[in-house]
Subunit: 131 residues, 4 copies
């Protein structure tokens, strides 16, 4: 039995998160224990996806677009704080993320916090906006 | 290539959470390690959003509305326990949140718990009510 | 400005979780640090809600319904392991939850794990089934 | 009063996660404290469900399908790293999951991380794709 009959691209071309935040402090080995937000992107389509990201702050205009390439049939876990063009995303500051893609993708957020000799991980879906 | 073609406001004008709770106990430096619920609001519209919040308890009538201003093109991470008008939100008690906004916004909840020398963080979307 | 114009009951009458699990081991003071799953229910309607819960296991038939009363305009955070009628919910075993309510309610799951002198908290929405 | 009137199968036949990751390092007793991703499946239908899973990587073609049987009226919590046919799922590497089922099921992801003498748990819903 083969349930995967077609090559439908799963996902949507727009996703939004309001709870972005990454602490500057970390404990433990880098890079695996560095405190961070990681944007987890999955492209099940047969075409590479160009994902663009706008970052919203609480005291300045939105910055972007940041560009992230997600190859066809691949996942990409992109640390937000490795995004430096057009400008490094601030640590220790609240931010929101708006993502637009030219192919349907799935986006989820991974949070790791290793401040004070601790370790906590959390996962977050984009806002459930319906269709 | 510019994927952000228009100024559509992303989000909805109503959101609901049933899992509100903030412990009164904390360890570590304030305010970054204070146990809390933080409401993470993103306003991608071109108009300031007036967000109103009702807080539901398990043993008393709902309290509110609390008013939170989220400027156009900004994110705002509002600690629930900094809301004191009309009345401080109770610590150590279960609560639910109903949010209404005059502009579409995205709302997500951030939970930090630093009781007993520990650190744990969790994120929560509003209930997936569809449209 | 009053955004809360009507008394619409927010929520749905059916919710499903597949990731139920509560460890039997705990450390720290009871009951606040007892490892648990807590079902967080919000009833914004003007009528009391009768919530019924079926618990699904991996090696036995579903058990229930468990009945939970959520009063009008109230939240109720119900520890799953305080449900003993018709039968205590098992610890240390995977379970799923299907909830039916006679009024629309919002349901979210809170998980606290204090095994081994640790503390971790996570929140979970019901499955995003759309409408 | 019986709210559970029919035998409707709750869920959907397709679910997607982009944030898969399991560390190879663990501390504490096995298997309960082994770092892992666990796929939590609930089948409320009256027929056994055959679930098929494709695993997407960031540097190789998708692998699968993995087959998971979920009996009628049962939950099944399947550790991803116990899936070894056609090939063990990699530890310490990002992955995405696409699930197809021949019966409607509910799928949620459980993450436990016990690296460095710590314990953190997180839960994640599949992407909110609407219908």
């Amino acid at each position: 039995m083969a349930l995967f009959k077609d090559n439908t691209a799963l996902g949507k071309t727009s996703w939004v998160f309001s709870a972005g935040f990454a602490p500057s402090q970390s404990t433990g080995h880098e890079p695996e224990f560095t405190s961070r937000n990681t944007l987890c992107l999955l492209n099940t389509s047969q075409k590479d996806a160009c994902v663009q990201l706008m970052v919203y702050y609480d005291d300045a205009d939105p910055v972007g677009p940041y560009e992230i390439l997600v190859e066809a049939n691949r996942v990409k876990h992109q640390r937000i704080n490795d995004l430096i063009e057009p400008q490094a995303v601030y640590l220790d500051k609240p931010y929101g993320l708006v993502l637009e893609s030219d192919q349907p993708v799935v986006a989820q957020l991974y949070y790791l916090d290793s401040r004070e000799g601790q370790l906590t991980v959390s996962h977050l879906n984009p806002a459930p906006l319906g269709d």
